[in-house]
């Protein structure tokens, strides 16, 4: 396996920041914008191996698994395309937001401008409004500062005690 120091990518920095923050479980459903992160989750090097990856059939199920881990005292992250946030709304509103169980969400932002495919346009236009509606904090990932953005999202989640989204606009 290639030495990570020679291939440090935004995805690598993001995941390494999670490992260093004590995250041990990652789950979710892939998005092409997140493919770099999923590739590392599927074949982690020694430094990322502490992050066990469980592929999920659907985003709400992934969030349920991550929430169970959080209830048990662990730290888990859920990766998804923004389309999956719709599936997650019931778990967010009838579990996380009433049991006060925060988890970190990594959410891609397909359709953030009007050049993306039609199926992404509505959710892309409303993504941050949807998060605001349920008072779910978010941080938009700065690819030049992946570690700082990831840390900011974790710290926001810890401070606000609400599920927090790290939004990924550019392909990892």
């Amino acid at each position: 396996m290639t030495a990570p120091t020679q291939t440090r990518t935004v995805a690598y920095d993001l995941l390494l920041t999670l490992v260093e923050a004590g995250f041990t479980l990652a789950t979710g459903v892939p998005c092409s914008l997140l493919k770099g992160a999923f590739a590392l989750l599927e074949e982690p090097d020694a430094d990322l191996a502490a992050l066990r990856y469980l592929p999920a059939p659907r985003e709400d199920t992934a969030l349920g698994v991550a929430s169970g881990a959080a209830v048990a005292g662990g730290r888990a992250v859920t990766l998804m395309q923004n389309s999956g946030l719709g599936y997650c709304l019931n778990v967010l509103t009838s579990f996380n937001l009433i049991y006060d169980v925060p988890t970190l969400l990594i959410v891609s932002w397909r359709g953030h401008d009007d050049t993306d495919a039609v199926e992404h346009q509505v959710i892309g236009r409303e993504l941050t409004n949807l998060l605001d509606l349920f008072e779910l904090p978010y941080v938009v990932l700065d690819p030049a500062e992946a570690r700082a953005s990831t840390t900011a999202a974790i710290e926001t989640m810890n401070r606000r005690q609400r599920c927090t989204a790290l939004i990924v606009r550019d392909q990892l």
Binding site: L54, V71, G73
Partner: protein
Amino acid sequence: MALTLAAVARQLLARHPDACVVSSCGYPSRELYNAGDRPGNFYLVGSMGMAAPIALGIASIHPRLMVIAIDGDGSLLMNLGVLPMVAAARPRLIHVVCDNGMHESTGGQATTQRADFVALALAAGYRSAIRIEQPAELAEAEPAGTPTLLHVLTEPRRGGIGQRVQLSPRQLVERLQPALN
């Protein structure tokens, strides 16, 4: 004598006193609560279909702990996709499906046609799955490995349902973690 959800809950608590038990919203949570409240019981009040995912998450953090998920037929049918995910993760998990063929919590409406949850679980990769129709079969069930699914045929409750869970969701979380360690 056919099994009831209440009898299943009582038997599971008696047989697995150290297990963490996650129950699906509606009657499963209420029956478990009234069968014997304890800190290791984690009642869902919403998020139908999430009992097994949340149980899997707990089991993934505490791999030696026995975790039991109590689903209904309606709540598992809502999220059959969880079966292969549970199977792949190989948790120490007993997935109990109390199948009365109806959405009893909302008035007894039909679910879909009766499903063979044993076949579904085995096809998804569960290590074992057992169909249970009589109380003695539940008491004697010896799964050959986990994750396992117990497909328990139950009849609807005859008397009134017991009280709702009296603890707040936040209280349930706070008391669960110490019970797991």
